[in-house]
């Protein structure tokens, strides 16, 4: 019974292919199955046509053999190359994961040592030095965040992102979010408005992951805004979902970049002009989280006018 179950799960192509984290049409096992079926169908067709128009059965057999042989060779070549693609993808993810883990240790050592130094507990820091210690700390934090993002990405790609479901209030999450982002908002001269909604039902998902998505979207909204920015956060109920949206009057997204927005490491050109630091992984990670939460994420944007990023997650 167990053996049968194991055989069946091995044959469950869709599940096998999900492990590679690529689409079905790029998955070697699935393609081989498809090619196999094409071979069978073409052989039968060749047989049907052959016996109709050709007298000698041996010739028909030969034609079918040749046809099957050619198709089989093609199938092998195609699936081998996709197999190599999937393997390369997996090795790349593994590499990123290993390197990120290795980087974590020296970076967290740095973080704590800098914290100790700047705490003043090892002696007073000279006026002149304070600024430079700040630079060290900020850059160490940047590296730290990048490595964390990379680890999250590699976990997403190997489908090992832990997701603990529970009931929580989106309202509370947003309230905390706004408090957390107050310093950044005021430093960037951006006004953050949140219109509370009464009687919003509780959402059922992983609150720490959803919070990460909210942080990403709010962070982007604040950073990509010019002078006198205004960011509006809205929460609402849409049928059986809760909708979260962040609207900004910032630089917007150029039309040609729109389809790449959720891709890994993508930074729009006009972002580079505005010199914001970031790994380009925030939206990729956000999309993966919302997908795992069985929700949807999207945006509307007009260059120089602003953007609205939104996501919906189911209530239960």
């Amino acid at each position: 019974m167990n053996l049968l179950k194991r055989i069946f799960s091995k044959l469950n192509i869709v599940e096998q292919c999900k492990k590679y984290n690529i689409s079905l049409w790029q998955c070697p096992q699935f393609l081989f199955l498809v090619m196999g079926m094409i071979i069978v169908v073409s052989s039968l067709t060749a047989y049907a046509f052959g016996t109709r128009y050709i007298e000698d059965p041996l010739t028909v057999a030969l034609i079918i053999q040749l046809l099957a042989g050619v198709l089989l060779t093609m199938a092998t070549i195609i699936t081998r190359s996709f197999e190599r693609l999937a393997e390369a993808n997996r090795l790349k993810s593994e590499f990123i994961s290993v390197v990120s883990h290795q980087l974590r240790s020296p970076l967290s050592n740095l973080k704590w040592t800098i914290e100790l130094l700047t705490s003043g507990k090892l002696g007073k820091i000279e006026e002149k030095q304070v600024e430079y210690f700040k630079i060290i700390r900020e850059n160490s934090n940047r590296m730290h965040e990048l490595v964390s993002d990379l680890l999250t990405v590699s976990r997403i790609e190997s489908a090992k992102l832990p997701f603990k479901k529970q009931e929580f209030s989106m309202q509370e999450l947003v309230d905390n979010l706004i408090i957390e982002y107050k310093p950044l908002a005021s430093a960037s001269n951006v006004e953050v408005i949140f219109k509370k909604v009464d009687d919003l039902p509780k959402a059922s998902s992983d609150p720490s992951r959803i919070k990460l998505v909210m942080e990403n979207l709010l962070d982007n909204a604040i950073r990509y805004v010019n002078e006198k920015g205004k960011v509006e956060i809205k929460l609402s109920q849409e049928n059986n979902n809760i909708r979260f949206s962040v609207k900004d009057n910032g630089v917007g997204i150029p039309e040609k970049d729109k389809k790449y927005i959720f891709q890994k490491f993508f930074r729009s050109e006009n972002v580079l002009r505005h010199q914001t630091k970031g790994s380009g992984l925030g939206l990729y990670i956000s999309k993966a989280i919302i997908k795992k939460a069985k929700g949807k994420i999207g945006f509307q944007s007009e260059e120089s006018k602003g953007s609205t990023f939104w996501f919906i997650i189911p209530i239960n």
Binding site: R104, S105, P106, N109, K111, W112, T113, E115, L116, K121
Partner: protein
């Protein structure tokens, strides 16, 4: 004065964490590998053990297991201090008897100190 045994192979952390805990008034015993760590735990019976998981000679999980098997050391609270954040590792450490599991990258130094003080004051 309460004593803390710090089992960690990174000398940078031995220095940094050691220094701040010393300033808080604790005596710090350092071990740079799992085997020495275990020996010192048995010999000195500290009030708290800070344990890294990736260690030379004997890894943190093994050290934890042996600490909890030994009647002299099994009641010493252990805080696991590591950068491994997989759920399997966390579960394993808690199952083996760790009181707390802190992922270094997710905590500030002062938060670690708070945690230590809290456990030692219980």
């Amino acid at each position: 004065m309460k004593t803390i045994l710090f089992i960690e192979d990174e000398s940078a952390l031995q220095k940094t964490v050691g220094e701040i805990l010393k300033q808080e008034g604790y005596e710090i015993i350092s071990a740079l590998d799992g085997r020495v760590g275990l020996k010192l735990a048995q010999r000195k019976t500290p009030d708290l053990i800070l344990l890294d998981l990736i260690l030379p000679k004997l890894n943190g999980f093994e050290v934890l297991k042996k600490l909890k098997e030994n009647s002299e050391t099994k009641n010493i609270p252990v805080i696991v201090l590591t950068n491994l954040e997989g759920i399997e590792d966390i579960d394993k450490a808690i199952e083996l008897g760790a009181q707390s599991y802190l992922v270094k990258a997710q905590y500030e130094l002062k938060e670690l100190v708070e945690k230590v003080k809290k456990i030692l004051n219980e």
